[in-house]
């Protein structure tokens, strides 16, 4: 986590500006702002992160495995860059999450603790115990995923640490379902506009199929060398 993250996607910035007309409250999905930049520049300590994570585990559970009902996502094994972006986005209001907001407050988690927590979480094991969908439309899910999702999230759902694309393998079906709907419906403010454009015409059945497919991707990760 000592790399520089400032060379963030100019192309996606241009893209977000082009789409901005649709929703004036939309923000540049991955803008560099002081706190996020600061956390990304810190060295995270996984040991300290394990201690700081205690206040998160009341919801995200021990081992950060989340809940199969989708109420709280798995965080274990997620890229540190993604975790940092999402946490700082939540507490700066870029991602609307009233349930989590008080627990991500500056009085509760320091800038250094965000880096520490991210370092802790990214290295946690990801058991193949995540909640899955009904499994009755997997051919459609596979087709959509390969056509639309794999280019960013990877053929194995591994995401991309440098581009802040989340890992989706090992995630709970019901969480994937909910967030994909929110993104499609323009209700997740910090979503990548490229993704909104890709799935905006997805039906609920399309989203369920692709979320189901994602929830069945292998959890073993190929080590990413940044």
């Amino acid at each position: 986590m000592t790399r520089h993250w400032l060379g963030l996607p100019i192309a996606t910035l241009a893209c977000s500006l082009a789409i901005a007309g649709a929703d004036t409250s939309r923000i540049d999905w991955n803008a560099a702002y002081p706190e996020k930049t600061a956390v990304l520049g810190l060295h995270g300590d996984a040991g300290r992160g394990a201690e700081a994570f205690v206040i998160c585990q009341g919801c995200h559970r021990v081992g950060a495995l989340g809940r199969a009902d989708g109420s709280y996502p798995r965080l274990a094994g997620q890229h540190a860059s993604v975790l940092i972006k999402q946490l700082t986005d939540v507490r700066s209001g870029r991602r609307t999450n009233p349930k989590m907001l008080p627990f991500a407050d500056h009085q509760v988690i320091s800038v250094q603790e965000i880096a520490d927590i991210a370092a802790y979480l990214q290295a946690l094991p990801v058991p193949a115990t995540q909640g899955q969908g009904a499994g009755n439309d997997l051919a459609r899910g596979a087709r959509l995923y390969q056509a639309d999702c794999a280019v960013c999230h990877g053929t194995r759902g591994e995401g991309n640490v440098d581009k802040f694309y989340p890992r989706v393998s090992g995630q709970h079906f019901r969480y994937l379902l909910r967030e994909n709907r929110l993104i499609r419906d323009n209700q997740r403010r910090n979503a990548n506009p490229e993704m909104i454009g890709v799935i905006k015409n997805y039906t609920d059945d399309d989203i369920a199929a692709v979320a189901d497919f994602m929830s069945r991707l292998p959890v073993e990760m190929v080590k990413q060398v940044p």
Binding site: V54, I55, C56, Q57, G58, C59, R61, V62, R67, D69, S71, Y72, P98, K99, M100, P102, F103, D105, Q107, V108
Partner: protein, 206 residues
């Protein structure tokens, strides 16, 4: 030692608070103790017990609480950040240099087990304690206070605590009367009155 004897002869009922407080406020500082043991005997033990296991359920058991937590609360009472009709008055009569000694005295004491009075209610409290309420965004108590309720340096021990005390604290967080921890303020506001009673009952049995 006349005051101490009077105080020790009384149980700490809130109705007698005014009567109890008078001597603390009037007592000369020199009598109030050169060391923490005197302070424990003459002041704290009256309500919290010499062994930190209070018998009156409105007064918290201190035995087994983390010393850091106890010290933080003493400082919070002293600064006015935490208020209680009795503690806020009593704290003014204690030398703040004694706070760490008091925390070090009570923290390591052996906590006595609590008593569940309503098994049905405790059974309702258990899932809340272990899993929280995902609809209202109440985190599991166990996340910070641990499954067995023993707490740690940052988060207080809950196990075996008197129901009445736990209920009052959660209600005080809910109302904003106690504002020592923004996390618990959020938790208190999200808990219903029934959930507070149930989880306090479960905690008593831990």
């Amino acid at each position: 030692m006349g005051y101490a004897n009077i105080i020790l002869s009384l149980t700490c009922k809130r109705a007698r608070a005014a009567f109890l407080l008078a001597p603390f406020i009037l007592l000369p500082v020199s009598l109030l103790a050169a060391d923490a043991q005197d302070t424990v005997t003459t002041i704290c033990a009256t309500c919290h017990g010499a062994d930190g296991n209070s018998t009156d359920p409105v007064n918290p058991k201190l035995a087994g609480m983390g010393q850091e937590y106890l010290l933080r609360q003493l400082n919070a009472f002293a600064s006015g950040k935490r208020r209680d009709e009795i503690m806020s008055a009593i704290i003014a009569s204690i030398d703040s240099n004694d706070f760490p000694k008091l925390a070090a005295y009570y923290g390591p004491k052996q906590p006595s087990p609590g008593k569940v009075q309503n098994q049905q209610l405790a059974a309702k409290g258990r899932p809340l304690y272990e899993d929280g309420n995902t609809d209202s965004g109440v985190p599991a108590c166990a996340g910070c206070h641990q499954s067995d309720g023993r707490g740690n340096a940052r988060f207080p021990r809950l196990a075996g605590q008197h129901q009445a005390y736990t209920v009052k604290q959660l209600n005080d967080y809910k109302s904003g009367r106690r504002a020592t921890d923004p996390l618990m303020t959020t938790v208190g506001k999200r808990l219903t009155a029934d959930e507070i009673k149930a989880v306090a009952e479960y905690i008593a049995g831990l």
